[in-house]
Structures are given as C-alpha cells and as structure tokens.
C-alpha cells in the first residue's frame, strides 16, 4: 500500500510538472513560410474567457485579439480564417474584435467561416472580413441589441419582501430586477439600446456595403439562415472548412498553404473546472433520473 502511494504521488507530481511545462509551449510566433491561420471564435464573446456552468462557456475578446495579433505579426501567415460558432456577446467585446478584424483585413485577407451560428456580435465581427462563408443552414444576422432581464418585484411582493430603495441620483437603480421600470425609465433604456443598435447597423452596413433596402431589412434584428442571408447580401458564399481554405489560398495568392490553428490554451484550472462542471451535471442528472415523477411535482411546488 505504501509503495502504491509513493508511485501514485510520483506519477501525479511528474504529470503536473509535464502539464505545467507544456503550457509554456505554443508561443506560435515564428513558424511557417506560407500558411493560413485559423482563429476560432466560439461561444459567448465577452471581455474575458468564461467557462460558467450556468451561462455557458465563451471566449474573451482579449484571447481572440491576441490570437489575431499572432496571425497578423507572423509574416508566414498569408491569410486568416475566422472559425465562428457563436451567438454573439457583449457589445464592447464584440466591437473590439470587429475593429481588430477590420484592421487585420487591410493587411491580410480575412475569411469568416460561420459554422452553426454566427449571429449578433459574432456577425458584427464576421462583417469586417473580406469574405463570409456559411453553411446554407447556419444561423446568422440578428443585428439587434437585447437588454431584457427578469424583474422580480411581483414575486417579492408575494412573499412579503420589500425593496428598500436608497439611491442618490434618481436613475441610479434603473434596471434593478427588484423594481418595475417606469415609462420614463423604459424610454431612457430604450434610447441607449437604440444608440448601440444604430452604431451596430451602421458598422455592419459599411463593412458589407449594404443599400438602404438591405439595411432596413437587417435592422429588425431577426436572424437569418445562411440561404436567406446570402440572398440579403449578408454573406458571400456557401461552404465549410475546405471552401474557406480554398478561398483563403485564392485571396492570398498561394497554392500550397499549410494550416495553423491558434487555439486558446487550456490551463490546469480550465481542465479541473471542466471536469467539476461535468461531474456536477451528471450528478444532478443522476439524481433527477432516480427521482420518481411524483417527487418532481413536490419539488416543483
């Protein structure tokens, strides 16, 4: 038993050391002579990487821009493919990436390849690319802004919980879920959303050279399937990874480009987090399966 303990300890220590050292590699700054970089944009785009069990995982604009920067600074990279599979994200984070993509497209061809979804902020980013490639069934567009939230004041009233409002500045608690918005407050919030929306539409329209009719169509904020988006001029071609690579080679004027993927590096914390998230998920699932239907009803009451 003691021997096994020593073996196990040694093995764990060596594995951890190897893992930590492996994190130090991959500073892919000097590699190829004729290459195409694939930069993933996946999940919800926010200022920082997230791996939240409830709100889902996503990439931070810092991470995405960092990867794009590597591709930009690497003279061996002749074209960049954005591998997009994202429902969008926060306004500022999406715009940061969109601006960087636009800037990058001035020095290197950028191809946005939308997979399952490239909507809202993710479409904003894609619009800055030279070419947008989608599947006919991809979800894209959704050029709108949303700031909806759950308002609990009615629920709190029901349980005798009172929101004690203490503010200096009348509008300080606008958007608090504990009180109802007044009409004036609603108008104010709506005007902020409109400003963001106008900017969003303006930048997308400029990026894609959309005419007035196209602009009025996309302004609704509705999402479009790839096949509809092409008709509206929101995307350029249908295809997948292979088509994106072919297009990248064509725009870069290279015949035999090698592929380099700038993936975000996982830390040991991410690995542990991912593991515990999954473990809790399956634990809950297991408990739910074990519960008979009537107990579900009791719990739901």
């Amino acid at each position: 038993m003691k021997k096994l303990k020593i073996i196990l300890t040694t093995v764990i220590l060596l594995w951890m050391a190897a893992f930590f050292i492996s994190l130090g590699f991959g500073d892919d700054s000097e590699i190829i002579t004729n290459g195409i970089a694939i930069v993933p944009i996946k999940g919800i785009i926010s200022p920082e990487d997230s791996n939240d069990f409830l709100s889902g995982s996503g990439m931070g604009s810092d991470t995405i821009i960092n990867n794009l920067k590597k591709a930009k600074d690497n003279n061996g990279v002749k074209a960049v493919i954005l591998e997009i599979n994202s429902p969008g994200g926060t306004v500022v984070a999406s715009r940061e990436v969109a601006n960087y993509v636009k800037d990058l497209s001035e020095s290197k061809p950028v191809i946005a390849w939308i997979r399952e979804m490239g909507a809202s902020g993710a479409y904003w980013i894609a619009s800055g690319a030279d070419v947008i490639i989608v599947d006919e069934m991809s979800i894209t567009g959704s050029v709108g802004v949303i700031s909806s939230y759950l308002e609990f004041s009615g629920l709190l009233d029901k349980y005798g919980v009172k929101y004690e409002r203490l503010v200096a500045g009348d509008l300080k608690d606008v958007g608090s879920p504990y009180k109802e918005l007044s009409d004036g407050e609603k108008r104010l919030m709506q005007s902020k959303l409109k400003k963001i929306h106008d900017l969003f539409v303006k930048e997308v329209s400029e990026n894609r050279n959309l005419n007035d009719q196209q602009i009025s169509e996309i302004k609704s904020g509705f999402f479009y399937l790839g096949i509809e988006a092409k008709h509206l001029g929101l995307v350029d071609e249908f295809g997948g990874r292979d088509e994106a690579i072919i297009k990248a080679k064509e725009l870069a004027g290279i015949e035999d480009g090698k592929i380099i993927e700038y993936k975000p590096k996982k830390t040991i914390i991410d690995v542990i987090e991912g593991f515990t998230n999954k473990a809790f998920f399956y634990m809950g699932k297991g408990m739910a399966i074990e519960l008979p239907d009537n107990k579900f009803e009791i719990l739901a009451m």
């Binding site: 060596l14 190897a18 190829i32």
Partner: protein
C-alpha cells in the same frame, strides 16, 4: 536471484505505457496539434529537440525517483523485480545513473546489449552505477 530478461522487458513496457500517459502526452500535445499540422521541420527543430529532451528527462526521473524511494517502478512491482545497489542502499545519483539511458529507447537498447554478456545480467549503466536488477522472492 537475477531478474529474467523477459520479465524486465515486460516491466519496462508497462512503465513505458505509463510514462507515455503521464509525461509524453501532455508534453507532446503541443507537437501533435501544431507541429504535425502546419510546420516545416527546420523551423520547429529547436522546440522539437527541447520537447523530446524534456520527455526523456522526465522519463528518467520517473524510474530514478521510484527506484531510489522503493526500489521498484509500477512495472517492476507487477513483475516482482527490484533494483538494488551492490553497496548499501541505493543513492539518488546511482538511481539516476542506472536509468540515464532511458532518456532514449535507442540508448537503452545499446545499453541493454551488455545483459547478454554479463554474468549478473546487468546493463552497462547498471555496471557503471554498481546496481543490479533482481527478482523478489
């Protein structure tokens, strides 16, 4: 009793699988994902050498630490083999020296040729480190 050659080979193979899982895979994930896919050999040679060297060093440490601490690795434990010093207890430097050739399979193979000619079935680096591999009773 000196350890049988086949037992040593199988014990080594078990350890090799283990080392592959805990050391080679984490360290070579970088090579696997990025090196294979897009690089040309020349521009990556430095990192390739560095990673290979690190894998070798960690592998040597796996054998050396366990043999120094308990005289056995996992493979040796299963096949009831034990590394012993010909003097008193095994020192860490002896453990390192006897396993130094495990940094590379080629070196280990060359080192192991000596077993065929050695009375005590020692590898050349076992002779140098004054150690021996025996079977537990």
């Amino acid at each position: 009793m000196n350890a049988g050659n086949w037992k040593r080979v199988f014990a080594f193979l078990i350890d090799l699988v283990f080392v592959d899982l805990i050391i080679t895979r984490p360290l070579s994930s970088f090579i696997g994902e990025e090196f294979n896919e897009f690089s040309d050999l020349l521009t990556f040679s430095f990192e390739l050498i560095l990673v290979s060297l690190l894998i070798g060093v960690f592998a040597v440490l796996y054998w050396a630490i366990l043999e120094y601490k308990i005289g056995q690795t996992l493979g040796a434990l299963i096949f009831k083999l034990r590394a012993r010093s010909l003097n008193k207890g095994m020192s860490f430097s002896q453990a390192i020296l006897r396993n130094a050739t495990k940094i590379s399979v080629v070196l280990l193979f060359i080192d192991s040729i000596n077993i065929l000619f050695s009375e005590k079935k020692q590898r050349y680096f076992e002779v140098l480190s004054k150690t021996i591999t025996v079977e537990e009773k």
